[in-house]
């Protein structure tokens, strides 16, 4: 079976037609708007190509994942232009540099993994004992006396909040999802339901996006119920148990 390259993947999208390599280059040179590209369709094309081949080519999958995640990052950046300016936008050359650097790093690690595989098969005829020798002396190893303060120290260290990770390389700063999880939970302790848009409407768009993720998270865990009259209408959030009671009342009525 001939080897395939992700870069040669033929794409037929609304906004673009041609090989993946060209798409990549045009995006990096800013000759194409990332927001115009339907990345779901790109992933689908790739999945179809993979499905046509009986064998799963992990090399190609790995390269594709790295490329597509880099492109998604470009798209995410473009979706939030206001915030991007605030933290300093990457020039196209810098974006290309960053992408190339990441690809090179990942490729070197893949080469290193390939070297390990080679080594493993070369050393496949080297057997050695795992574990103690059958007739080795059995001596119970005693632990030296320990300081109980070390235990207190370990717990204190675990109670230290993590340092805030610098996301400046992404030119975007995302608040943690947990912040909104807690905010919404607290809100529902005080009120039976609230209007999502009214609650987060004044926040920057990045934070709104994270708030929506928190909402989906709460819905997934069954803590809340969501309702919306029509698409793009305000999202109403209520406690899950209330919703069940309402539903039950409605059905029995």
């Amino acid at each position: 079976m001939p080897a395939i390259s992700v870069r040669e993947l033929d794409l037929d999208l609304d906004a673009f037609e041609g090989p993946f390599d060209l798409l990549l280059t045009l995006l990096l040179k800013e000759e194409l708007e990332p927001r115009e590209i339907d990345f779901a369709a790109v992933i689908l094309s790739f999945a179809e190509l993979m499905a046509e081949r009986d064998e799963l080519d992990l090399e190609v999958c790995g390269e594709f994942l790295v490329l597509i995640s880099a492109l998604l990052e470009l798209k995410a950046r473009a979706l939030f232009p206001d915030e991007a300016v605030e933290f300093g936008e990457l020039e196209p050359e810098e974006a290309a540099e960053e992408l190339a650097r990441r690809l090179a790093e990942y490729r070197r690690m893949k080469e290193a993994a390939a070297w390990l595989v080679q080594r493993l098969s070369a050393e496949g005829d080297r057997f050695f004992r795992l574990g103690p020798a059958p007739l080795a002396p059995h001596i119970e190893r005693k632990l030296a006396p320990q300081d109980p303060q070390a235990l207190a120290g370990a717990i204190r260290a675990l109670a230290v909040p993590p340092p805030t990770v610098s996301l400046s390389h992404m030119a975007l700063r995302f608040p943690p999802v947990s912040q909104f999880l807690e905010r919404f939970r607290a809100l529902l302790m005080r009120r039976r339901r609230f209007d999502f848009d009214a609650e987060v409407g004044t926040l920057p768009r990045v934070e709104q996006a994270v708030a929506l993720l928190a909402l989906l998270e709460l819905r997934k865990s069954g803590e809340i119920a969501l309702s919306q009259a029509v698409p793009f209408a305000p999202i109403r959030v209520s406690r899950a148990d209330d919703e069940r009671i309402l539903e039950w009342t409605a059905r029995s009525a």
Binding site: P132, P134, R141, P148, I155
Partner: protein, 200 residues
């Protein structure tokens, strides 16, 4: 197949003896003549002959490696003349203290009371399997029932040996953590909160 050639080229039992040596140096339990014969792809009688050769080569006074017949078969051991050296090797304190993973796990179990592996893992942010296993093996923690509900995970508590090693009269004499919360419940929720922040 190159074995017929080898059989001609060298003393065949010599070659078999080398295979038996190799099997015995890799084994972590004594091997029977039958097991050796099956692995070597040879018959038991010839294996016995090879073992005879090896008994001569690996005997007290001649070699530091001594072949021994024990219950269940044959195994290598250290010569008696090297007994002192071996004792020094095994008595040396390999690990003076506890690893970071072991210390954190032990502290969680000691302060929060009986805890399951998933709970420890949630607080530490990494799987706790090997840390828990090593603490159980050292006798510092032990099983203490299961979490309530069917299929609940096994919980662990500290042992009297733990108290001795840390010079504690009881768990009540652990250094206080007033700065982190008023009671165990508060400390537990604070740790979980931080763990969640670390994971996000």
């Amino acid at each position: 197949m190159d074995s017929p050639l080898r059989l001609i080229a060298a003393n065949p039992v010599d070659h078999l003896a080398r295979t038996v040596e190799a099997l015995l140096v890799v084994a972590s339990a004594p091997l029977s003549a039958g097991e050796l014969a099956e692995a070597a792809g040879d018959d038991s009688e010839r294996v016995e002959t090879a073992l005879g050769l090896l008994f001569e080569r690996y005997r007290e006074g001649r070699s530091g490696i001594v072949l021994e017949r024990v219950a269940g078969g044959f195994a290598f051991r250290a010569s008696r003349e090297a007994a002192d050296a071996c004792a020094r090797l095994f008595e040396r304190p390999v690990e003076r203290g506890l690893s970071q993973a072991a210390l954190e796990t032990l502290a969680i179990v000691a302060y929060l009371g009986p805890c399951s592996r998933p709970e420890v893992a949630r607080i530490r942010g990494v799987a706790a399997d090997s840390a828990v296993a090593s603490l159980v093996e050292r006798g510092l923690i032990t099983e203490a029932g299961r979490e309530s509900g069917p299929g609940g995970a096994v919980r662990y508590r500290t042992t009297p040996l733990f108290e001795r090693v840390f010079g504690l009269e009881s768990l009540a004499t652990l250094p206080r953590l007033d700065d982190l919360g008023d009671d165990v419940g508060e400390i537990r929720s604070r740790l979980l909160e931080v763990a969640e922040a670390r994971a996000s």
